[in-house]
Amino acid sequence: MKNVKNVNYWQIDHQIKQIVAIKGVIVLPILEAWEKFEWVKLYFKQKPQEGYFVWVKKQINFPLSTCITIASPNTIQELMNFLVIEKRINVKAIVNCNTQKNDLCGKHIARGKLILKDGASLEYNHFHRWGQNDLVNPDYEFFLEKNSNLIYNYQNLFPPKDLNLTTSIYSKENSSCQANFIINGLNSKINLNETIFLDENNSRGILKLRLVGRENAEISAQSKIIANAEGVGHLDCQGLLVDRRSNISLTPKLICKCNEAQLTHEASIGRISEDQLNYLRTRGLTEEEALNLITTGFLSCN
């Protein structure tokens, strides 16, 4: 990773390489936080072994960043990450999880708990970059307290062999969230389970998926919005199949337990049209370059 000197928490394999303390932000190894703060124990069933604890207590004017890397063959990471944003604080975070080489056969298991207190705001930019034989299994939970706001951008343009990604967002009164998942499925088995719970009145959530299936990819996404109170939710799931050997399965699900909630969804899976390919080829791009450009465009669609 470039500019590592500014990374607040940097771990390679199981070793913490760097922790950068900032005024108003506590950054600790999760085990140390677990031992130090009793309330942290409430969030974890087991004693955590590795991962970060970041507690933002005062407003900061630059992004928080973390980087967790696999650098040695057959490494198995079992992380527990914890991020707390105090009341009315706005934070932008850049979170990188990656491998240093394409063929390390690593395993990255991450459990995350992220808490946004009353009126807090978080833009969480989560970038994954894996090798062709890695197994990756993140399970993140976001707890949105009253009036808080979350933007979660998950981007994975270099997927592992096997990705199991679970995301749950619990929304309290007047909170809002938008979760965007951008995944370029290249010869990879991908299983997504993401759910927004609209638990209190006037909570709002949008889930947006842009999934590309290429080179034997097998993608399955179960996206849910569950309205337990008066809230508004929308699912927008779109897949693009680039070749005949890949497949994408989208299952958008809306569960409404309150008659004043409003839930909507749209889902589609398309393919690249020959017209688009030919058009770009008449501009001098090869078929491969044209495919890459169209795919990049699809994944960058707002």
Partner: protein
């Protein structure tokens, strides 16, 4: 003198349907020609065949780029030779800005101002929500950036108001004709011809060029008077 492009007795099918039935066409360096014809006469098919689109199967005939036979060449290879097309109905490419595409394909640094374009225009997604005039200008901007030797303009004058038409004609003159680029103007209305005066005007009916005439206004007058259906009987054809 070597022709820039020479097409000999070209027969083309698409989706099992015969479209071109023996087309002969030669275009020299630094020459403007027009190709007139009614809808579905095969004009766009000829353009797509010259570009090498895979759905247009050459059943018979040859075409040469200089002395090189190019009917087996891939689309992008033909583009690299210098053959470019301004599409009549270009597709939308979502999420890709015109600027991104121009940066990917440009042989030289492009300049918005020369085409009277707002710089915000190139930051829009390709053809998404473009008006008719914007589509034509976007097409021209892309083709200009490729520095072509032959530009095929497929129905460049369709759906344009007079102001846009004049602007498009100005760009064609400035960027192609004044620079010695050969141009094949495909049009069924012929509106653009009064701005660009081709050296030869070809008329295509039922997949065949049935008339080649130097005076484009004479051809337009004849078509206006008799219509394309009666083109085969006109005096110009007899000549």
């Amino acid at each position: 003198m070597t022709k820039l492009i020479k097409i000999e007795s070209l027969f083309v099918e698409t989706a099992g349907k015969k479209i071109l039935n023996g087309v002969d066409l030669e275009i020299n360096h630094n020459e403007i020609q027009a190709l007139l014809g009614p809808n579905a006469s095969g004009k766009s098919t000829l353009a797509y065949t010259i570009l090498g689109l895979p759905n247009y199967k050459v059943k018979k005939g040859k075409f040469f780029w200089g002395k090189k036979e190019i009917s087996k060449l891939a689309i992008e290879e033909r583009c690299k030779l210098g053959i470019s097309l301004v599409w009549q109905s270009p597709p939308v490419i979502k999420g890709v800005t015109l600027l991104h595409l121009l940066e990917s394909i440009s042989k030289t640094k492009f300049n918005n101002k020369r085409l009277n374009l707002d710089s915000r225009f190139t930051k829009r997604e390709i053809n998404l929500g473009f008006s008719g005039g914007e589509k034509k200008l976007s097409e021209l901007l892309q083709v200009v950036s490729l520095k072509p030797k032959l530009v095929i303009l497929d129905e460049i004058d369709s759906g344009l108001d007079i102001k846009n038409l004049e602007n498009v004609a100005r760009v064609i003159k400035q960027e192609f004709i004044n620079k010695g680029v050969s141009v094949l103007l495909i049009t069924h209305s012929g509106t653009i011809l009064k701005y660009l005066q081709p050296k030869i005007t070809n008329v295509m009916v039922d997949g065949k060029i049935i008339c080649k005439e130097k005076d484009c206004l004479k051809v337009l007058e004849t078509i206006k008077k008799y219509g394309y259906e009666k083109c085969k009987k006109c005096k110009l054809l007899a000549n």
